[in-house]
Amino acid sequence: MLPTVDRAWAVFIARTILGMVFFIGGCHKVFTLGATEHARLLFVVPYADTYIPVWSLWATGTIVPYLELVFGATVLIGFRTRFSLLVLGAILVFVMFGHLIRAPLFVANGFILPRTGLLMFVLLMPRELDWFSVDGLLRARKPHPPINPRAQEAL
């Protein structure tokens, strides 16, 4: 895919909106609601009567807000974007699984599918298109390898 400033801009728009949505959600869950309260309210209480061990509900419910905060921030600024998108994608799958346990016909339109669309778009675009990011800046600063090492030596 030919890299152009328009395509780089398109990737920037998708990545920053996606990162922002997760980062803001993570901020709210960690600093306003509190990770422990998030775990109790959204994981332990609703799923206490399911087959899922309570200790795992506490663990995941407490960890997920921090993951959203950290990896939402890294996607927002475009640092280690690929790995961060994998983590956020796993969170989306995990959240979908949780919703489906309680409501087998759960409609994912409001939260999960829009974020999945943005995530898929950024993940499927060549990383070289992500110019306006920390990763892009670091890539630009790397020295380019010689095209023909033998020709370089001859010089």
Partner: protein, 153 residues
Amino acid sequence: MIAPTPIERAWAVFVPRAIVGLMFVFAGANKVFTIGPRAYAEMVHEHSHMVQFFPWQIVDHVAFATGFVEIALGALLTIGFKTRWAARLLGGMMVLVAAGYGLAGLVDPVGGVTAMDTRAVNTYILPRAMLLILVLMLPEEDDLFTAEKLLGR
């Protein structure tokens, strides 16, 4: 496999471009001619929580100008003049709007655990962002139905 014809590709670019351009034109027209720019600025001042983060003069002036900017850039996008610049600027505007809703969500988490207003994100920000992304991703040379092409530029 039969590749799409130039007219088909041009249409594939024109449809999302015109739709998103019209969305912005009408949203801007609503702010300017129905609500009024001064009243809209007052609404933003009162309800958006932006004055908690930025000087009120900046918030008021940006809110006042928003409708006019939307009309202008939306019109450029719709008729196909300086299309790429209009799409980039509107895309940047969507990023800033998302940031605004994000900050507002931290103050008043209307979106519940997601903090951001889910309705605003899903019905306002994301559709516009997706269409702009689509327009920017498609090759400029396929965009035949534009005022620029008509004027021979």
